[in-house]
Symmetry: C2
Subunit: 410 residues, 2 copies
C-alpha cells in the first residue's frame, strides 16, 4: 500500500491534536484514503522541550530539512505567526505539496496568493480550521456555492469574546472579571487583544468574504470593534429588552456592494445567533435557493480543530486542485458607502440631549439616557460626533420590531 507523507509545522495545540488524531484514527483514515498516512517530519521552535513524538519522525527546527525530504505530499501548518510561515507554504506548494493551514492571520493576509499559486501547481489548499474550529463552515459554503448565490454570512467567530459576554450576563460579572475567568479557563491569552478587540474575528471574516464573494473589502474601511466597551450595565439593559450582546462578523453583498463589519450587535431572541453561548461559535448563511442555514459547534480546542485539519487532509488527498475561493475578482476592494440607506433599530446610551436630527425616531425610552431608536447608520454616526458620550449598537433579529412595538404599545 502506498503512503501519504505529511509534515506538520508547529507542535502547539493544533499541531499536536492533529498528530495524536492521525495515530488514534489511523484505521479510518486508511479506509477513506486507500493509503496509509505517515507523519514524516515536525517543525518545532525549541529543540530542548520534551515531546511525546515517535522516534521515526524527523523533528527539526529547520524548514529546509523538511523541504528536502525524499517524499513529501502534504504540509500541515499550525503556527501562530504569519511570517515566515507564508514563505514555508509557498515553497511547499512549489515543491508540489498540498497545503493545509489552521492559521487565520496568515491566511487572511496571504490566502489569495497561496490559492493562486496552488492552482498553478495543481495542488489543493485546505483551510477549514482557520474559521470556526470544528464546524465545517468552509466545506458547507463551498458546497452551497456550487449553485446558491450567497447573500450574507453572519457569525460568532471568536469563542473568547462570546464566553466573556456570556459570563458577564449569566454571572453578573464586569468585563475585567469575565476576562479573568476566560484566562483562568484557558480560553484567553495573557494578552487578549487579538480576541477582545476583534482582530481574530476580522481575519476570519476576510477569509469568509473571499470564499463567499470572491473578494475582500479594503481592510482599512472595515468597521472592526471589539467588546471592551460593553459594560455590565449595558448587558443588563439589553437583557431587560429581551436582547443579547453578541460579537458578530457580518459579510454581505447586494447590488455589487460588499459590506463587512465585525462588532458588538444586539440580537433579538428569534435570531439563530441569540442562543449561541459560551465558547461556542456559529455561522448563519443566507443564500438564494436554500434560504438560511445555521451551523453551530466548538470554535476552538485541540480535537475539534484537529478534526477540521483531518477533513482537509481527506479533501486535499482526494486531489481536487484549487479552483474555488477564486470567483471573479474583478470587483475587489469595492468601496464601502459610509451612509447606509436602510433604516435600522439601534440602542443608544448616553443620550441626554434630545435635540436630535428629526429623521432619527426615538421609539422607546428604556431608562435614563437610554433609547431604542430607528434611523440610518450615517445619521446615528453623525449624532455621535456631536455627542462624545453617546454609544450605539445595531439591533438584529427578525422580530425585534414587533417586540418593540408591543412594548411601546403597553
Amino acid at each position: 500500500m502506498s503512503v501519504i507523507k505529511v509534515a506538520i509545522l508547529g507542535f502547539g495545540t493544533v499541531g499536536e491534536g492533529f498528530y495524536r488524531t492521525i495515530q488514534s484514527h489511523a484505521e479510518e483514515l486508511t479506509a477513506v484514503l486507500g493509503k496509509k498516512v505517515e507523519v514524516a517530519a515536525i517543525l518545532i521552535k525549541n529543540k530542548q522541550k520534551e515531546r511525546d513524538i515517535n522516534k521515526d519522525v524527523l523533528v527539526t527546527t529547520e524548514f529546509t530539512d523538511i523541504l528536502n525530504l525524499p517524499q513529501l505530499d502534504v504540509v500541515v501548518e499550525a503556527i501562530v505567526d504569519k511570517d515566515p510561515t507564508y514563505i514555508f507554504l509557498k515553497k511547499a506548494i512549489e515543491r508540489g505539496c498540498h497545503i493545509i493551514t489552521a492559521n487565520k492571520e496568515m491566511f487572511a493576509h496571504y490566502g489569495q496568493e497561496l490559492l493562486e499559486l496552488a492552482k498553478e501547481h495543481h495542488v489543493s489548499v485546505g483551510y477549514e480550521a482557520t474559521v470556526a474550529g470544528g464546524i465545517p463552515v468552509i466545506q458547507t459554503l463551498r458546497q452551497l456555492l456550487n449553485v446558491n448565490r450567497v447573500q450574507q454570512v453572519q457569525g460568532i467567530l471568536n469563542g473568547t469574546s462570546n464566553f466573556i459576554l456570556t459570563e458577564m450576563r449569566e454571572k453578573k460579572l464586569s468585563f475585567a472579571q469575565a476576562l479573568r475567568a476566560a484566562q483562568e479557563n484557558g480560553f484567553a491569552e495573557a494578552d487578549p487583544t487579538n480576541d477582545v478587540e476583534g482582530f481574530d474575528a476580522f481575519y476570519k471574516a476576510m477569509i469568509l468574504s473571499r470564499l463567499a464573494f470572491g473578494e475582500e473589502p479594503n481592510w482599512h474601511a472595515v468597521e472592526r470593534l471589539g467588546i471592551t466597551s460593553i459594560t455590565r450595565e449595558l448587558i443588563d439593559t439589553a437583557e431587560r429588552l429581551g436582547l443579547r450582546f453578541k460579537h458578530i462578523a457580518s459579510i454581505s453583498k447586494s447590488s455589487h456592494q460588499l459590506k463587512v463589519s465585525v462588532k458588538p450587535v444586539l440580537v433579538g431572541n428569534e435570531h439563530p445567533l441569540y442562543h449561541v453561548e459560551g465558547v461556542q461559535n456559529a455561522v448563519n448563511i443566507s443564500s438564494d435557493i436554500v434560504g438560511q442555514i445555521t451551523l453551530q459547534g466548538p470554535g476552538a480546542g485541540m480535537y475539534p480543530t484537529a478534526s477540521a485539519v483531518i477533513e482537509d487532509l481527506v479533501y486535499v488527498c482526494q486531489n481536487r486542485p484549487e479552483s474555488q475561493g477564486l470567483l471573479s475578482t474583478s470587483e475587489t476592494n469595492t468601496a464601502i458607502s459610509d451612509l447606509e440607506q436602510k433604516e435600522e433599530n439601534w440602542l443608544l446610551a448616553g443620550l441626554f440631549n434630545n435635540a436630535i436630527d428629526p429623521s432619527i425616531k426615538l421609539i422607546e425610552h428604556v431608562e435614563d439616557g437610554t433609547w431604542i431608536a430607528k434611523g440610518k447608520k450615517g445619521e446615528i454616526e453623525a449624532l455621535s460626533t456631536q455627542n462624545n458620550e453617546l454609544i450605539f449598537f445595531p439591533i438584529i433579529g427578525e422580530y425585534e420590531k414587533e417586540q418593540i412595538s408591543a412594548r411601546v404599545a403597553l
Copy 2:
C-alpha cells in the same frame, strides 16, 4: 461542450423546484461541472394537467420512454410513493445512470439495495433531499465520518410536527387547532398521519442510522410515537418547568448497541434543539473528535429541497462511485434492549397513586398528578402498565438536573 442529460421523475413541488432552479442557475452549474445540464425528459402521472415545461423536454407517463433515451446520465426521482419508484431507479442504475432521490419512504425501504447496486455499476446515489430538506445533513455526516466516529444523531426531522408544537405553545392552541393552522399554511396534508404519527421522521431516522452507523435497527423494535398525545395542558406544564416538547429522532450507538427512537421529548433550554421553532428542522451530531455540531435550517419547501437535489447533482456528476453508506453491516438488526440501564429524568402525568417502585425517585411535585421523576426506562414503563392513565416523557438537555434541583431546593 459536452452535456449532462437528466430525467426528472415526478413534477410536484420538488421536481418542479429542481427544474426551475436548473434553469435559473444554469450558468453556475455549468461553471462547476464544466458541462451543460439539460433536462431531457420528465415523467408525469396526468397528461392532461397544464405545465410550464420547455417544448424540447420529453414529457411522458411511461418510464420506458425515459429509459430508451439515447443519452441519459442522471435520473432525479421526486415521486412520493415507494413503488414502483424503486424499480425505476433500479433500472436507471442498471443502465449506468447516477440516481438522486428526494423520496425518504422509498429510500428508507430500498436504500441499501440501491447503494449496493450502484456500487456494482460504478455510479453514485444522491439522497441529501431525503433528510432535512435544504440542510446539508447527509453531506456533513459523510464528511465527518471520514474520520470521526459518530456517537449520536438527534434531530427535529419533521417540520409539520414542529410547527404544530410551536403553534400550540405560542398561540395557546389545541392540537386540533394547530393542525388546522398547519393545513391552512400548506405545512400539513389533508391526511396528516405520516407527519403527526412520526412515520416521516421514522423513515428519515432509518436513513441517518444507515449512514451514521452502517446499519438499521429492526424496524418493528423502534419506539415510534407521534405528537397526537400532546395536549395544551402538557405544553403549559412543560413551559412552567422551562422545558419544551420537541419531536425528536434519536439514533445512537454505544458498545455495539444501536438505539433508535422517534418520539416527543422534553428539552431543556440549554439544549441546541430547544430553540428550533416552526417548520425549521435541525440535527445535532455528536462525534468523538469534533464534539457536538448542530445544523439548522429549512426542512422542506420547493427551493430548499431543490438546492439539496442540485448539490447531489454536483456530487454524483463529480463521479464518486458509491462507497459510503456502506460501512460494515455485520451487525445489522441489533436487538434493542428494552430495559435501559441508565437513569433519566422524566415528566410523569396522571400519577395519583404514589405507591410506586422505590427505585423511581419522585424529585419534584409539579402539580396535581404531575411529577418530575428519575428512573430507568424499564421501571417507568413497568409503572405505566400498572396505571393506564399514566403518560411519561423523557427530559433531555445538559443542565436540566441543575435546574430541577434548584427548583426543588427553593
